[in-house]
Symmetry: C2
Subunit: 112 residues, 2 copies
């Protein structure tokens, strides 16, 4: 049983993607990752981070663009981080977020 | 306004994927497609179809594998078809489902 706060390892949960019948537990793990991105606000945040210089952004950068409060944005970023899709890097007062390229690459393979 | 029964055209809704900031309407269209696959039963059905000879299957093939009734499976297949992820081909009594390769390819690009 994987605790909810640990990112899903897609390479383990669905190593052959959709090319072989998925077990229920594999399908549930993959669903966790997909549900994390299946949200318009989270997709907007991902695209904002990805289009920033060096593909990293802090909450302060994002609040204005999506017109949401910083606590709301932080909640959405936590969902994405818990799914392994974002990485956090604290620098002084601010936390910077960047895409976890490995997890995105695995997700692409799973859906390929 | 796109009727709910028309598949989302990912090439139109997010032509540059997550590499530029998504508009809200683009993020909502993309969310519709992602929500369609973010379900363990639907992921299992997709993997079953994809692993069949010629990557096509009918409801009769799938009912036993996922231990669900045919009406329940048909509902899930309709959600996937409405999102443009599956294609239907009626042959006599049965409807055969196959993956819409173009839509999957676009989804991969959007997430790439």
């Amino acid at each position: 049983m994987i605790p909810i706060s640990l990112p899903v390892d897609l390479a383990v949960c669905a190593p052959k993607g959709l090319s072989v019948p998925l077990e229920r537990s594999q399908a549930e793990d993959l669903t966790r990752v997909l549900k994390a991105i299946a949200d318009p606000t989270r997709l907007q945040l991902l695209s904002l981070i990805n289009s920033e210089p060096e593909s990293k952004a802090c909450v302060c950068d994002m609040a204005e663009a999506v017109e949401l409060s910083q606590p709301t944005i932080s909640h959405h970023l936590k969902v994405l981080t818990d799914a392994g899709l974002l990485e956090r890097d604290r620098q002084g007062t601010w936390v910077w977020y960047s895409l976890n390229v490995d997890q995105w690459s695995r997700l692409q393979k799973v859906l390929g």
